[in-house]
Amino acid sequence: MRARYASVAVGLWVMAAPGVLGLGGDERMLAHILGPIVVALSVIALSGVTRFVRWAIVVPGVVLAILPWLLGFDTAVALMFAACGVAVALLAFVRGPVDERYGGGWTALFRDDEPGSST
């Protein structure tokens, strides 16, 4: 849960960074596309039943970590975005507590045997 909130916070910062730091051009574009995606995926992954969505956050995280260098951003700006990208990508690996049981979850839909009561 805390990992998701942290992920939401980092995503919101990426969304806000161009306005706060006065970034323009590609820097603004990158932040305004990837920020909302990180926030959206993190919010959806808040629920235990859709927790697996956290893995999708790795994609915008990695893009955020790599693209600033390829696009030749200012080193300080590139470092900031890279740190945010690495942070959300790593946070995606934290599952966090799931208190409820969901009858075997989504994988139960693809199993032939009766699902157990775990997950």
Partner: protein
Amino acid sequence: MTARDGTRQTFATTVETTSRAGSAAPPGWSYNPSSWSDRLPIVLAALVGFGIATYLTLFQLKVIGSVWEPFFGDGSRTILTSGVSRALPAPDAALGAASYLLDAVAGLIGGRRRWKTMPWIVVLFGLAVGPLGAVSVMLVVFQPVLYGAWCTLCLASAAISLLMIGPAMDEMLASLQELRRVRRRGGSVWRAFWGLS
């Protein structure tokens, strides 16, 4: 959420796992995703979203002359009168309002066992909530990228539709698992989907 957690903790100490969830809980579930305590918060969120989207529609239809914007100056006006917002025959806020209304109605139809008795409405509900969230994210990205502006109420609406997705998906999963069980037993998934068997 809080109500459910509260119930869980109160009962967990005295009652065994399966019975605490009640007979209405799907097999292997620790709670019933179709219970009113689970569904009403989503319906409420949808109604708030409907209110916001209706207000924005009134502005887009020029019924009201100005729009509330506490943070981003002329942002809301820029976004709500932009090309994207008029790309479809109806103002985009009106489509949002219609989606929210569909969410609210689909959230209300059916009883506490609807994951089993009415899979069609649960699946419709899930499909209505999911794409609404996806469209919201797309519109959020469009705001600054295309127009360099933000719109407070549009962001609020997007946040609401995103928050609804996770809580709505548990019921969808319960219904899909039920259809899977019917199929495993050799029953008609089609009839089960419409609640005929």
